[in-house]
């Protein structure tokens, strides 16, 4: 493990010495120090006990600094081509091009160079250290790129914003570290699709954070599709700060990557707010998909719903850690957490762990998890009606993945979610591609 920390320390020294004494360089130094005191987690760390990082931390990733300023539009995945939306394209984390409408898009790398940046606090984020892991501190320590999307108040962005996080060949064996920030002002609404993908099967360490700031009475629907290269290590921290009466729905679909650590952390920080944390982790071969949900109820009268479903094939492994923290002033909290796993092979496995920390006395908090294989009785019933076994299986698997759709209202997001899942079925040879 020392290998990774030594290597990354060298990279950091080289990196932060380039920047003059500024608000961001001191923030970087500060957070790098926090990373060092934590180090890379071991299996004895409670929040990482199901995820072995030995292989990941044996690699020497260098900081990505080769410029990739152009993006060939022909690389846009087929599945996104028909979407009528505002495309924001980042290559190796750097903003390369974008289209906007009634909202503003800023290049984070430029903002970080401004000494008097008015968005300093939003960029740094004010999240309590004790709830952050090494990937998040590293993300702050190496922060030099990304995009900042600003939506003013009472604005409804009609077409979805489509953020493409693309990793080109320059990302090979590198740490690609970026942060996307979306700030939605009072009574505004937006739909955001994020699609992460790479060229070929390159090995890279993607360390991305996404900050959502939802001001009072705002509404966001977010669909994130992570289809990285099969040799990549992907760490993602999604943090959401929600104001009064805000509504946030996020649906993450994990598909391509050797190792995933997917941290989602909504903070219900205003009365009457509501958070839906949905996810589908589709794993095969020997992928490992580790999902860490942390729903924080900081104020009263807020609702949250977590619905994470795993579909695991071959020798793959899934982890679901569902943590709910209800602060003592968060009375009348209504929090529900559900994790369901469908094992498609005898060798796939999943670990699921709920963690409820409740400090208020008038709350409703439920959690449940199931893991199993396709229900044989149900399969028999479908077959007894004439449906061939393969079709019966896929009907059951498909319906398993569609439960999360009940929480999404936008047609484009719904359609894309279904198409992505069907594409995975074909790629996994669960159905023929015709």
């Amino acid at each position: 493990m020392g290998n990774f920390e030594n290597n990354i320390s060298l990279e950091f020294d080289r990196f932060n010495n380039n920047s003059a004494d500024s608000w961001i360089s001191s923030h970087r130094a500060d957070t790098f120090g926090k990373f060092k005191s934590l180090g890379v987690p071991k299996l004895t760390d409670e929040d990482w006990r199901f995820t072995n990082l030995a292989d990941f931390s044996s690699k020497s990733y260098s900081l990505n600094n080769k410029a990739s300023d152009i993006f060939d539009k022909r690389l846009i995945p087929e599945i996104l081509k028909d979407i009528d939306g505002h495309f924001i394209i980042l290559v190796n984390g750097k903003l390369v091009e974008y289209s906007s409408d009634n909202f503003q898009v800023h290049d984070l790398s430029k903002m970080l160079q401004e000494n008097e940046c008015s968005f300093k606090n939003l960029i740094k984020g004010s999240f309590s250290d004790k709830n952050q892991d090494f990937s998040f501190f590293l993300n702050s320590a190496f922060l030099d790129r990304g995009c900042f999307i600003e939506i003013d108040s009472s604005i409804n962005v009609e077409k979805p914003i489509v953020i493409l996080n693309f990793f080109d060949s320059n990302a090979e064996m590198s740490l690609v570290n970026h942060r996307n920030i979306i700030s939605i002002s009072t009574s505004s609404s937006v739909k955001i699709i994020e699609y992460s993908f790479a060229v070929n099967d390159i090995d890279y360490f993607s360390n991305k954070s996404t900050f959502f700031y939802l001001n009072d009475n705002s509404k966001v629907e977010h669909l994130s599709i992570d289809d990285g290269s099969k040799n990549s290590n992907i760490f993602s921290n999604i943090k959401i700060m929600q104001g009064r009466d805000s509504n946030f729905t996020t649906d993450t679909i994990l598909i391509g990557g050797k190792l995933f650590r997917n941290n989602v952390h909504p903070i219900l920080n205003g009365e009457g707010s509501n958070s839906n944390v949905l996810g589908l982790y589709l794993s095969k071969d020997s992928q490992l998909m580790d999902n860490y949900m942390f729903v924080e109820h900081a104020k009263a009268h807020c609702d949250s719903r977590q619905l994470y479903k795993g579909l695991l094939n071959d020798y793959s492994k899934g982890v679901f850690h569902g943590r709910i923290l209800v602060h003592n002033e968060a009375q009348k909290t209504d929090a529900k957490q559900t994790n369901r796993n469908l094992l498609l092979s005898n060798t796939a496995q999943v670990d699921t762990k709920p963690q409820l920390e409740i400090y208020a006395d008038d709350v409703k908090c439920t959690h449940g998890a199931t893991t199993g294989q396709i229900d044989k009785e149900a399969l028999y019933y479908l077959r007894a009606r004439g449906i061939n076994e393969d079709l019966a299986r896929i009907m059951m698997i498909r319906s398993f993945t569609e439960e999360v759709l009940e929480f999404i209202s936008d047609d484009i997001l719904l359609g894309l979610h279904k198409k992505v899942v069907e594409r995975w079925f074909v790629e996994s040879n669960l159905i023929s591609g015709d």
């Binding site: 009785e377 479908l382 077959r383 007894a384 449906i387 319906s399």
Partner: protein, 246 residues
């Protein structure tokens, strides 16, 4: 149409059917009655192709062909339909999606083109109306939230849409009140013709006032011990089964 010849079957080393022989011709309605544990549901499951049972002796011949090696879906495609005693719920799979796929799978096996969703919905709605059920069931998950009686009626709805050659009703009347029973019986009777056959497995004589059988058989300890016409059912109702047991 259906010939069961000296059928012996067991599940996990327990022999349940011990030499069952039965012949059902086209257009006939047969009823099987018997005490609990006699093997009635086992017979129904075996006919539908449930893989938990082992056939140790005998044969089942449907339309001249042995179906012992056929999978459940092949049997359904050949025209066998089992209305389950305890239909299960399948959350997430809607009634309409399920039925359309079933109907199209059967059509495909006969070389017919699949029905488009619109065409299917039209047919489904007609049948739903005939069975006095609510159209909204089409969008609901299969049997989810249905009462026992609704589930049984849903089995008959499926039967009327899939239009089998041979329908086996496994205690379809159990737990139904008179009104539901009438509707179920009407649904079954509407399908009766010279080409189709029915095997009505029942514990109670009452159903047979509504679905009148041509033949009644009594199944005791895995074998048919007596056969007769519909009057046999009335005899059983007044005398019970003990005179036939042992």
């Amino acid at each position: 149409m259906l010939e069961i010849v000296n059928l012996h079957a067991k599940i996990e080393d327990k022999e349940i059917l011990k030499g069952l022989t039965l012949k059902i011709d086209k257009g006939e309605v047969h009823s099987i009655m018997g005490p609990n544990g006699s093997g009635k549901s086992t017979l129904a499951s075996i006919l539908a192709g449930k893989e938990d049972y082992e056939i140790t002796e005998g044969d089942i011949i449907f339309n001249g062909e042995s179906i012992l090696e056929m999978s459940p879906e092949e049997r359904a495609q050949e025209g066998v339909f089992l209305a389950f005693q305890y239909p299960i719920e399948i959350p997430g799979v809607s009634n309409s999606y399920f039925l359309r796929e079933a109907l199209n799978s059967i059509r495909k096996s006969k070389g017919k083109a699949p029905l488009k969703p619109v065409e299917f919905i039209k047919i489904a709605k007609e049948k739903i109306k005939d069975l006095k059920m609510n159209e909204s069931l089409l969008n609901r998950s299969l049997n989810e939230g249905f009462s026992g009686g609704e589930k049984k009626r849903n089995e008959i709805l499926q039967m009327s849409i899939l239009d089998p050659m041979m329908a086996i009703l496994d205690e379809t009347d159990s737990g139904l009140d008179i009104d539901a029973l009438q509707i179920v019986a009407d649904g079954v009777n509407a399908l009766k013709n010279d080409e189709k056959s029915f095997l009505v497995i029942t514990h109670y004589q009452r159903l047979l006032n509504y679905i009148v059988p041509d033949y009644v058989h009594v199944l005791v300890a895995g074998r048919i011990v007596k056969s007769g016409d519909k009057s046999l059912a009335l005899e059983l109702e007044s005398k019970g089964y003990s005179w036939l047991e042992g």
